[in-house]
Amino acid sequence: MVDLLYFAWLRERVGVARESVETSAVSVADLVEELKARDPRYAAAFADTSVVRVALDQDLADFSAPLAGVKEIAFFPPMTGG
């Protein structure tokens, strides 16, 4: 089981802020494909992954990053702090 977190408009499109999922995806990109196939809400959220950022256990990562050992995966739009 891995925790998925969504922020900002990704949270709004997916409809939840946090969920736990069972997955055998080996990379972030694989997981995103799995989610998109599962429900139109995910397909809408991940329609354009060029505007989606990902953090693995609270560190920014690439979509090609492996998921082995990761407990918390967060998806969000480009950050707008400051």
Binding site: A8, Q58, L60, A74, P77, G81
Partner: protein, 146 residues
């Protein structure tokens, strides 16, 4: 160093008071305060969402890098989340260094990283509705100078 991610409003002047002061090895202190601006006259509030845990972690890493790179005597970052009024402070950075150029550069480095690498997302709430603020290409570009 002090890092605070908080919902409460703060007073930039009170935060600056005493920061980097009264020590013999500080020649310059720079502060930046970001405020809620209303360009159109229709903004009711700014809503800021963040990623508790990662936020503090990401900011700590930036501040530690700034301290070591510019040999800062001290550094301060305050960043709010939640619902903010027009004209209210959003965040603040302060840096204390031997020389002014280091203090300025470190403050600008922290601002550029907070803009694009700290997990905050801004939403503008107007009478007409709500919209997420889009990240600017210029902000991403700004990181390249460091």
């Amino acid at each position: 160093m002090r890092i605070s991610v908080q919902e409460a409003v703060f007073d930039p002047g009170a935060e600056l008071s005493g920061f980097g002061a009264g020590r013999a090895d500080v020649g310059g202190v720079v502060s930046f305060t970001g405020l809620v601006r209303d360009d159109t006259g229709t903004l009711e509030a700014l809503e800021i969402e963040h990623y508790p845990g990662m936020t503090e972690r990401a900011i700590t890493a930036m501040v530690e890098e700034a301290i070591s790179r510019w040999e800062l005597a001290d550094a301060l970052v305050i960043h709010r989340y939640g619902r903010l009024d027009v004209g209210a402070p959003i965040m603040m950075v302060a840096t204390a260094a031997r020389h002014r150029v280091a203090a300025f550069e470190a403050a600008e480095f922290l601002m550029d990283y907070l803009k694009s690498r700290a997990p905050f997302w801004k939403k503008e709430v107007t009478r007409a509705g709500e919209s997420w603020v889009a990240a600017k290409d210029a902000d991403e570009e700004a990181l390249k100078r460091w």
